[in-house]
């Protein structure tokens, strides 16, 4: 008994030391300076989110966000390859940024007030509503048909809250990755998977056994995110985004990645 009690006290002491003795507040150097000194940008991108971030057959990162990351590297170092791409999910991308594992999130982050509290957002670069991905045979026509049904969402994605609010009678089941939510629909684990319109449309195109339904609901803008308070870096990001619009890069990327589903998207 005595030994256990002492062991317990030790555990609590170590726990407290870990919890309270963490790093102090950060110094004020902008990540922009750190990146320039390092000579390489470390960007968090998605790997399961067509057409913004996926892995192609040869194992390379491809997608709209990936091209933006390369463009940033080009602007910073005059070499589009000076960028390290780190795979992130909807759930872990902001923790990755906060913990310094990445410099910047270019990974379909929907701008919300809650997230504004913890990161610095760029100007919007895309506008996305939400759609449903259902089996081809499904008769569901939108979120309104999901009462009493099982709806898959990705943990940390905005649709977790949206579905809870708009269709509280749906049974939400949450997964860590887009690919797992798709599998859940294919395996009959969920009646529908709700996510950003653009990814649902792309997934429906890639998977003939599934289809996209619904009218895009609650459209919201995507932003690029850097650490909270880093105004120097976000100012640079905004300037570069503006340049991309002026020099036609943005239009070119839009045509490359969205042309075939353009009709179903909310235009920014």
């Amino acid at each position: 008994m005595e030994r256990t009690r002492r062991g317990f006290a030790a555990v609590v002491a170590v726990g407290l030391a870990l919890l309270l003795g963490g790093p102090g507040p950060a110094d004020a150097q902008s990540t922009l300076e750190v990146v320039k000194k390092r000579g390489k940008l470390i960007a968090g991108v998605k790997t399961d989110f067509p057409p913004f971030g996926t892995i192609d057959a040869s194992g390379r990162n491809v997608g709209f966000d990936v091209d933006v990351a390369h463009r940033f590297a080009q602007a910073l170092f005059n070499d589009a390859n000076q960028v390290e791409l780190v795979a992130v999910t909807s759930g872990n991308r902001i923790p990755f940024l906060q913990s310094g594992k990445i410099d910047i999130i270019i990974a379909t982050v929907t701008i919300t007030d809650e997230r504004r509290q913890v990161v610095e957002f760029s100007e919007p670069y895309f506008l996305s509503g939400s759609l449903l991905l259902v089996p081809r045979a499904s008769t569901a026509r939108g979120l309104e048909d999901m009462a009493g049904k099982t709806v898959a969402v990705v943990q940390g994605a905005i649709q977790d809250k949206d579905v809870a609010e708009l269709m509280p009678r749906a049974d939400r089941i949450k997964f860590g990755k887009v690919s797992e939510a798709v599998l859940a629909v294919k395996g009959g684990r969920a009646d529908a998977y709700v996510h950003d319109d653009i990814v649902i449309l792309s997934l429906a195109k890639e998977n003939p056994d599934l289809k996209a339904v619904g009218k895009p609901f609650v459209p919201r803008p995507y932003g690029i995110a850097v650490r909270k308070g880093d105004t120097a870096f976000i100012t640079w990001v905004n300037a570069e985004l503006a340049r991309m619009r002026r020099d036609g890069t943005y239009d070119r990327l839009w045509k490359t990645y969205f042309a075939d589903v353009e009709a179903n998207l909310v235009k920014p």
């Binding site: 963490g22 150097q29 594992k101 949450k174 797992e180 599998l183 650490r227």
Partner: protein, 225 residues
């Protein structure tokens, strides 16, 4: 390694606000782990007993089972049961998927642990039991198995501790246990250190309670000797 300065100020109120949900997750962790433990121990015993039967197909089948499930990651087993089997037309509920994956994985280890226990009982014990007039079944029931369990107990305890921690993997298939709840809270309030720290502390408490119970059981067995 790090990409730049890290701004982080602690907000312990996040833990406080998330505590009811975290405790709900911990309760589910206890439930699914306890259930998996009972079934995995029983299954392990049966499998170990089957390997003692010479001849026939039972022994190679059990060996194959143990090698397959002990030598593959639990996460793959969980995904096969949850995502893979439905494509073959066999759909277990999410709860049964997670539970059965935990059970088949832990039972493979338990079978090995009990088999080692059985083999560690000196051969003379069996001969002595038979020579005082016990039947084969009686010798096993009263002499061999009790000693085997006592020998296997420390290794079994370690495996059960692993089981509690491994149960966090069923968070990947949407089961609302402690790890899932920690993700759910941290992904929305972004207080990762506080929330995962609190979850880790809860796991420590759960495992301490388990090791304490195992310790008491071991002492009782020692007294019964």
């Amino acid at each position: 390694m790090t990409a730049g300065p890290t701004a982080y100020s602690f907000a312990w109120s996040a833990v406080w606000r998330g505590l009811p949900y975290l405790l709900q997750g911990a309760a589910f962790t206890v439930f699914v782990s306890a259930l998996a433990m009972v079934v995995a121990v029983a299954l392990g015993l049966v499998l170990a007993a089957l390997t003692e039967v010479r001849g026939g197909v039972a022994r190679p089948l059990v060996r194959a089972y143990v090698e397959v499930f002990r030598n593959t990651p639990l996460l793959i087993q969980i995904f096969i049961v949850y995502f893979g089997l439905p494509q073959l037309g066999w759909r277990l509920s999410p709860f049964l998927s997670g539970l059965s994956a935990l059970v088949i994985y832990a039972a493979a280890y338990n079978a090995e642990i009990f088999r080692a226990g059985l083999e560690a009982v000196p051969r003379g014990q069996h001969e002595a039991a038979r020579s005082i007039g016990l039947s084969e079944l009686g010798a096993q029931r009263f002499v061999i198995v009790p000693q085997a369990i006592r020998i296997a107990f420390p290794a079994l305890g370690n495996n059960l501790v692993s089981l509690v921690k491994n149960s966090s993997l069923v968070s990947t298939i949407g089961m609302v246990e402690l790890m899932f709840v920690a993700n759910d809270i941290a992904f929305n309030n972004f207080r990762t250190f506080e929330i995962y720290g609190a979850a880790a502390l809860l796991y420590v408490l759960l495992v301490l309670a388990l090791t304490r119970a195992l310790h008491l059981a071991e002492r009782r067995m020692a007294r019964a000797r």
